[in-house]
């Protein structure tokens, strides 16, 4: 018996990255903008999606895959607004690509412009998992505090847009908007910010315009490619 050292040098995430890129290309080819929505539990992801669907100019253009550890409560809330498929992780704290792909097979994507993935409420692990989205959006409610970008840097670094929700509660909580934005821009300088009160519709026009613009850019890129 002897002991030998075997060099391997294998990137453990390479396969996963390639699979996510392949899925993204497939959605691009079909003209569907995929948006991965992450936040802590209770930030208002589901309410934001309900309001987005209500404000969308043409019905039947949005669909959603919604992840939770247990229950299909979010799918029940979203079903009156758009086609939805609940993904239940059975304890896992984030969604993975395989689960998303299985869920997508259950949705009719005919005419769909934007596919939302409402991730499991968690600002940590979802940040490390590329689900093949074109756009990652982090939502944060004003009641959570303005110090979160520095505490959860990866969630903010890997996002392109940030929706600050429950904005109507701002007068009642010590949330400094400019401090929050400065902190977030240290980690992600190109982050687009949206102030939102989904229940009243405040901020919805800017958010909807942004999503439409992002899809237009995707279609242009596809056309020129």
């Amino acid at each position: 018996m002897s002991v030998i050292t075997v060099p391997v040098d294998r990137d453990l995430q390479a396969e996963r990255r390639a699979a996510a890129a392949g899925f993204r290309n497939e959605l691009t080819r079909r003209g569907i903008l995929c948006v991965n929505l992450i936040s802590s539990p209770g930030a208002g992801k589901t309410t934001l999606l309900q309001a987005t669907a209500t404000a969308w100019p043409t019905p039947g253009r949005l669909a959603v895959l919604v992840g939770d550890i247990a229950t299909d409560r979010d799918a029940e809330r979203l079903a009156p607004f758009m086609p939805v498929k609940q993904l239940t992780t059975g304890g896992a704290c984030h969604l993975e690509l395989a689960l998303v792909q299985r869920g997508l097979a259950a949705l009719d994507l005919e005419g769909i412009e934007i596919l939302f993935i409402e991730n499991v409420g968690n600002l940590v692990c979802p940040a490390s998992h590329d689900l093949g989205e074109h756009l990652r959006v982090v939502a944060l409610s004003v009641t959570e505090g303005d110090d979160k970008p520095g505490k959860y840097p990866k969630a903010f670094r890997t996002s392109q847009a940030c929706v600050v929700t429950k904005f109507d509660l701002l007068p009642h909580v010590p949330f400094d908007v400019s401090r929050f934005q400065t902190d977030a821009r240290l980690v992600q300088p190109v982050l687009s910010f949206f102030s939102m009160c989904a229940l009243s519709g405040f901020g919805m026009d800017e958010w909807r315009n942004y999503l439409q613009e992002q899809r237009r850019i995707l279609l242009e890129e596809t056309a020129s490619a």
Binding site: V3, V6, V8, L12, Q13, H129, K154, R157, V190
Partner: protein, 116 residues
């Protein structure tokens, strides 16, 4: 907490190498882990070593080489260590920087017993 699924992915890779190379008992497994990989080293080590006992019949030790987070400035091309998650070029203060190191998990090498 996705360290358990990563530990299992790592064990699958190690098993594949073991079978390809006809190795016997795995003694140590060395990985390179970026500080911005989103993986907690202590949790991964515990998860891996506990499972290795079940997978291999004898515990293998996980050795972790930590790799700092580095970025490259898209304007002046300076490569620098990102400290305190401040993604700004220390030379020209440009904010458009690309991460070049510190996000990955690499299986570097393993040591194992052979028959000969």
């Amino acid at each position: 907490m996705h360290e358990t699924s990563l530990a299992e992915a790592l064990l699958r890779q190690v098993t594949a190498v073991r079978d390809e190379r006809r190795l016997k008992r795995i003694r140590t497994v060395t990985i390179q882990l970026g500080t911005f990989s989103g993986v907690e080293p202590v949790l991964l080590k515990t998860a891996f070593e506990e499972r290795s006992q079940r997978w291999f019949g004898a515990a293998a030790e996980l050795l972790i080489e930590s790799v700092e987070l580095r970025a490259e400035c898209e304007a002046c091309r300076l490569q620098f260590e990102v400290e305190g998650f401040r993604f700004e070029c220390p030379a020209c203060t440009n904010e458009h920087v690309r991460i070049v190191q510190g996000e990955n998990l690499m299986l570097l090498r393993l040591s194992a017993e052979t028959e000969s």
